[in-house]
């Protein structure tokens, strides 16, 4: 299976990446390669740099890359703007999706989808055609049509916000999706809906990076690789049983790896 995945080139290559914000180093040499069809999980204590890694890949302007490269489909994207990265197929699912009062969810989704479609040389959708498309995608995350007429994420519950993220992922059809703690704040039913949505959207041509603290998401979506991060570095990489071991032994167990490295 894995050799078949690697027949084509990697979607994402993070090479020895170091980054800082306000002169404070956050990432200290992270390397990670994702091939089509692969699911990677990144785990680690709070503050170890998981979310920062996801934001830097998405192009957050508050972080400076001090060393290393990020390559997407073989091209260096270090200097691309966040919107250019998104249009070319990088999706970041937020841990805390942002509320945007006064901006209708439907219009926001339509503008986003058309930005991606324009990049893919697909015809942009008018409101009528977009409604048809979004209706179909709403099914994936079992969301009510009424959510579309509200402001982006405003007044949504934690679970509704996360489902809205997956709806966006379904509409944007990214090449790689980085989902930052998509499972946090979800009850068991919502977790299953979100996990099933992710599975439906992903395919042999796409890559997924799941950032999580818990095994329960990985019970629903089995990763090919599990990486453990600590203090801005990936300190151990293994297969899915590494997550189970972490669940059993806790992060204290990983402190030994830090001593070893």
């Amino acid at each position: 299976m894995q050799s078949k995945m690697k027949e084509s080139g990697p979607i994402l290559e993070v090479e020895n990446l170091s980054a800082s914000t306000e002169n404070l180093p956050i990432l200290k040499g992270v390397s990670l390669t994702v091939y089509p069809g692969e699911i990677h999980a990144i785990m680690g204590r709070n503050g170890c740099g998981k979310s920062t890694l996801s934001k830097i890949i998405a192009g957050h302007p508050s972080y400076n890359i001090t060393n290393g490269d990020i390559k997407f489909l073989g091209e260096n994207i270090n200097s691309l703007e966040p919107e250019e990265r998104a249009q070319s197929g990088i999706f970041l699912g937020f841990q805390y999706p942002i509320e945007i009062p006064g901006v209708s969810n439907l219009e926001f989704l339509r503008v986003s989808t058309n930005a991606r479609r324009k990049f893919l040389n697909k015809e942009e959708l008018d409101t009528f055609d977009f409604e048809e498309l979004v209706k179909e995608k709403l099914e994936i995350v079992k969301m009510d049509h009424a959510f579309l007429s509200r402001s982006v994420n405003q007044g949504f519950s934690g679970g509704e916000k996360k489902r809205n993220e997956i709806l966006q992922m379904a509409l944007l059809e990214p090449k790689i999706a980085i989902l930052d703690e998509t499972d946090s704040g979800l009850d068991i039913d919502a977790l299953r809906i979100v996990a099933s949505g992710i599975k439906k959207i992903s395919n042999a041509q796409t890559g997924i990076i799941l950032i999580t603290h818990y095994q329960r998401l990985l019970d629903e979506i089995k990763p090919n690789y599990v990486h453990v991060m600590s203090d801005g570095q990936i300190i151990k990489t293994g297969e899915s049983d590494l997550a189970l071991e972490l669940e059993k032994k806790g992060y204290e167990w990983t402190d030994n790896f830090i001593k070893e490295t």
Partner: protein, 405 residues
């Protein structure tokens, strides 16, 4: 005294109206506003001088409206354009105020003027001739929306005065549009009296061209059980002041205000509001927004006066401001003066920039920084624009703000 001389030399003293004479007389003692007073201390002195610099002669009294053609369902009036109206329909009437009533009402108003606070009105009334004054008496129901235009012409200082009596149980939508021209000054004074149980949805939209100036003064008296809703928007003026004075004369009245001013380049636009509660059970909900970009300066000063007689007043005043450039300046000062002891009053002010995290979120969805900023601004504007009556269907103000301004 320069201004007085200018007025006198511009018009023969014999031709002055009674109102003009009274106001000129008042101006003699303070020909210019006190630059150290609270109402004027932040006004840019050279811009204000520029406002007064233009000739008082109207150069181009004709006015070609750049706005949508009048709709069949809307009554449109242009002050100074041989404006006459005498509509008597089955359910309502809109009549011209008689000269006597107009003079009587203005004299009453002037007698209550504070020399400094009402300086803009004193200037307006001392300069204004009859043809640039429109007085209306409105009563009845199912009245069509009314649009009233005031405009300045280039290279001159124009004055327009509007007086409206809304009689008992009357309910109307009124949009007032003040237009500045290149190199012009417009002095607009408006006096509105809402009688018992009447209701006015009032929109004030003022916008200019390069180097236009505006002194816009609005005086509203609300009687028992009246409701006054004001949605206002001021933009594209080199120098503009919007002065709002509302008096709930007997209490038991409701006032809602949603106003916004947008400044760019080196413009200065300010809003001064004074809401006076003169009886119990008054209500006020006010929000004022400023957006300042480039090297511009936006000012808001609001005061709410709640004397002992105004028990059970419920008033809220919020100033929300967006600073879009490091060189722009925003001054805001919401104030409460409360003597009554059984009231619910609150005020607050915020100054912020475009929300970086919201922008990043939108950008991670492929929306460009420019588009994301526009979406944020449109949501910021929408709250105010949706409150301006008459404009919703035919006046695309949001588009004007986002794409033309």
């Amino acid at each position: 005294m320069e201004i007085i001389e200018k007025i006198k030399t511009n018009q023969s003293l014999d031709n002055l109206t009674e109102i003009q004479k009274i106001c000129l007389d008042k101006l003699q003692s303070s020909p210019l506003p006190n630059p150290k007073s609270e109402q004027w201390r932040l006004s840019n002195k050279s811009k204000f001088s520029n406002f007064l610099n233009y000739s008082f002669n109207e150069k181009d009294p004709k006015f070609n409206t750049p706005f949508p053609n009048t709709s069949q369902n809307t009554i449109r009036l242009v002050i100074g354009d041989d404006c006459q109206i005498n509509l008597i329909e089955k359910n309502y009437s809109i009549k011209q105020l008689s000269e006597d009533k107009l003079v009587k009402y203005l004299k009453e108003q002037i007698s209550c003027f504070d020399q400094n606070e009402n300086w803009s009105d004193l200037l307006n009334l001392s300069l204004n001739r009859k043809k640039n004054t429109l007085g209306l008496k409105i009563n009845g129901s199912e009245i069509p929306p009314i649009e009233i235009f005031s405009h300045a012409s280039s290279n001159s200082l124009n004055t327009k005065t509007l007086v409206i009596f809304l009689e008992k149980n009357c309910d109307i939508d009124l949009l007032q549009v003040n237009l500045g021209k290149y190199n012009s000054s417009l002095s607009q004074s408006t006096f509105i009296c809402l009688e018992e149980n009447s209701s006015l949805n009032h929109g004030v939209v003022s916008y200019g061209e390069s180097k236009s100036n505006l002194l816009n003064s609005l005086n509203v008296i609300q009687q028992n059980n009246s409701e006054y809703n004001l949605g206002s928007l001021h933009f594209k003026f080199n120098f503009a002041r919007f002065e709002i004075r509302i008096k709930q004369s007997e209490g038991n009245a409701k006032t809602n205000i949603k106003g916004m001013q947008i400044t760019k380049k080196d413009e200065q636009i300010s809003t001064y509001t004074k809401i006076d509660f003169h009886g119990p059970n008054g209500f006020l909900d006010q929000i004022n927004k400023s957006l300042a970009d480039d090297k511009s300066h936006a000012i808001f000063e609001g005061s709410i006066i709640v004397p002992k007689i105004a028990q059970k007043t419920d008033a809220s005043q919020l100033s929300r401001n967006l600073l879009l450039s490091n060189l722009a300046q925003i001054d805001t000062k919401p104030q409460l003066e409360i003597i009554a002891d059984d009231v619910k009053c609150k005020h607050g002010a915020t100054i912020s920039q475009l929300n970086e995290e919201e922008l990043f979120y939108m950008r991670t969805r492929g929306i460009t920084l420019r588009e994301a900023s526009k979406l944020q601004l449109s949501s910021y504007f929408q709250e105010i624009i949706s409150f301006i009556p008459v404009s919703k269907d035919r006046w695309d103000l949001l588009d004007k703000l986002l794409n033309e301004n």
